[in-house]
Amino acid sequence: MISIDQAVRNYQAGETVVRALRGVSLDIEQGEFISIAGPSGSGKTTLLNLIGCIDALDGGEITINGEAVSSMNKKSKTDFRRINLGFIFQTYNLIPVLTAYENVSFVLSLLDLPEQEVRERTMGLLKEVGLEGMEHRRPSRLSGGQQQRVAIARALIKNPQVVLADEPTANLDSETGEEILKLMKEMNRRHHTTFIFSTHDKMVMEYAERLVMLHDGQIISDERRQ
């Protein structure tokens, strides 16, 4: 479904060129629960950004559902993200003035769905991620774990093909992090959504069904587990 072929990404940092990805090739199937792991600076975020169509390749190609990302223009990338991709961020990135409910439902209002459907789907999903009764709280009245649950619901609400999560547990204590991972895995199973998440945490890697290790912008191992 996602096919990455010799992906190259270089950054200009002053005089020097940082080779963030040096020819990464990877095939990902629908419904996979895959972790991109590696030390800091190994290129995890860069790879996720490229799959998420918010960064541009310097070489190679990424094909999603048979469509080459490098051939998409800005608008079709935006449309593609709106319809097919969900994002979960390390710092949750909820809108502070909106309630949990509104933070999730606004994604659907971008898709111009009828109000009734927006309501039902949002309430249902918030319940699924364990936030029943907290729908009308603003982020400031939710714990980190709860905020990340809202973020998971926000990523999943439009039934995307792929959810990209860059270090989703890095801001949480290990216990809460595990809960979040369990929830992600559960969602992966239930909705058959592909999850691609990055981490440098051993515990988090344990949860992956497939573990891709990056080092200096190159894949050094790719193993299926369990």
Binding site: T45, N49, G52, I54, D55, K75, T78, D79, F80, R81, R82, I83, L85, G86, F87, F89, T91, N93, I95, P96, V97, L98, F106, V107, S109, L110, R154
Partner: protein, 415 residues
């Protein structure tokens, strides 16, 4: 769209203090705009009225060549037989009165004024029984009495009286040249002092009975001008055409107050231009304030912006969201501004500001002696209200665009 509106208004409450400060900046700009406009409009309205009431009347009949030579105050370019014209005008229901205007030197004697002196003056000889039907001096007497038909007496403006140290009962001599050029000295007693609301008049006014002037200047019944008062709503140009018809030539002509006051009106026009500049500056200041606020608001939310863009929110929608937010600030600012402006207007219209100290010392063109009052101007209030909203909205465009130029990963990494 509904979501964008509600998001914009929720974000307004997010930085309450900043929203309020910016809204107040806009409000002050708008209130000042409304206030200054009301005051200037009022001053202009009153100036024009005082100009007509005490200087030009609505229209004036003159000898054909008089206007060209008006600064000489020529007695020979006169209306030789004014009375039939006055009768004809009266028959048409038009109020009019004749005058002789001449210049001379006023001699002040040591006996009367403590020291000798002489000053150039302009004297207006009026028909005491009819002049106040045309001009509005009727209620300006503050000391003494009005003139009688045929006496050697004058009325003077109160500022003029102050300047020469005159009071009722003093005698002065006016030296002038009569019709034909002979020298004449006329002894006149000050019988009354007028306080004319038009400062230009109050500073110079000397009035005497026309019969006395006729005698001393050998006018033989002639007048230098006939002044006409038209009703306030009259179509001046149309009336003038009618009057011109009545005169059927005879070497005399009729002029509207607008023609006579051309210089004044040109200055008023220039003043309006000047105020336009002030108002423009006020708006620039408000615009810079809004722009800064939006810039800060947007850059504090760069990560949020990155999130929204990753989720596939189009640049257009993001732009609309921020512009709606700015429009909200504009709406609050405009509303407060209009309220303050209207309150300030109530005051300037009903109480006014006393610029007497200023008007006494110099002539700044306005024909108002002391208290400047404003006037209501609903058009300006509406324009100011909408301009506040519009400018806020437009001004938010630039900082939003700047933020949208950043790539999404940089937005997401932003602290």
């Amino acid at each position: 769209m509904k979501f964008l509106i509600s998001l914009a208004f929720k974000n307004l409450t997010r930085y309450k203090r900043r929203t309020i400060i910016t809204a107040l900046a806009i409000a002050i700009g708008i209130a000042m705009y409304i206030f200054i406009d009301a005051m200037l409009m009022g001053a202009e309205y009153e100036s024009v009225r005082n100009l007509k009431w005490y200087e030009t009347a609505s229209a004036r009949i003159l000898d054909d060549e008089y206007w060209e030579e008006r600064y000489q105050y020529p007695l020979d370019l006169n209306i030789s037989d004014p009375d039939p014209i006055l009768e004809r005008l009266e028959a048409e229901g038009i109020t009019a009165s004749k005058r002789i205007v001449f210049t001379g030197d006023m001699i002040l004697s040591r006996a009367e004024f403590g020291e000798d002196g002489n000053i150039p003056v302009r004297v207006t000889a009026i028909d005491p029984s009819r002049d106040f039907d045309v001009f509005h001096f009727g209620d300006t007497l503050i000391e003494g009495r009005f003139l009688e038909e045929d006496e050697e007496a004058i009325l003077i403006g109160s500022w003029f009286a102050e300047d020469i140290g005159a009071s009722v009962g003093n005698w002065v001599t006016i030296i002038t040249r009569g019709n034909g050029g002979f020298y004449e000295a006329i002894d006149l007693q000050i019988v009354g002092i007028l306080n004319c609301p038009n400062p230009n008049v109050n500073r110079t006014l000397i009035m005497m009975p026309i019969k006395t002037a006729d005698y001393y200047l050998a006018m033989d019944g002639a007048a230098t001008e006939i002044n006409i008062r038209l009703p306030d709503q009259a179509e001046v140009e149309q009336e003038i055409a009618t009057i011109q018809g009545l005169l059927n030539g005879n070497g005399i002509t009729v002029m509207s107050w607008e023609t006579m006051a051309k210089d004044y009106l040109a200055i008023a026009e220039a003043k309006r231009g000047g105020t336009g500049m002030i108002l423009f500056l006020i708006f620039i200041i408000a615009a810079v304030g809004i722009s800064n606020t939006m810039l800060m608001a947007i850059f504090e939310r760069i990560r949020e912006l990155g999130m929204m863009r990753s989720l596939g929110m189009s640049d257009m929608k993001i732009r609309i969201a921020f512009m709606l937010e700015a429009a909200g600030i504009g709406l609050i600012g405009s509303t407060i501004g209009v309220i303050i402006g209207v309150i300030a207007n109530y005051w300037i219209i009903n109480v006014g500001i006393d610029f007497g100290f200023l008007m006494r010392e110099m002539d700044i063109g306005y024909r108002i002696q002391s208290i400047f009052r404003g006037t209501w101007n609903p058009g300006t209030i509406a324009v100011a209200f909408f301009a506040g909203i519009l400018i806020s909205t437009v001004v938010a465009y630039l900082p939003t665009n700047r933020a949208l130029k950043m790539d999404i990963p940089s937005c997401l990494r932003h602290q």
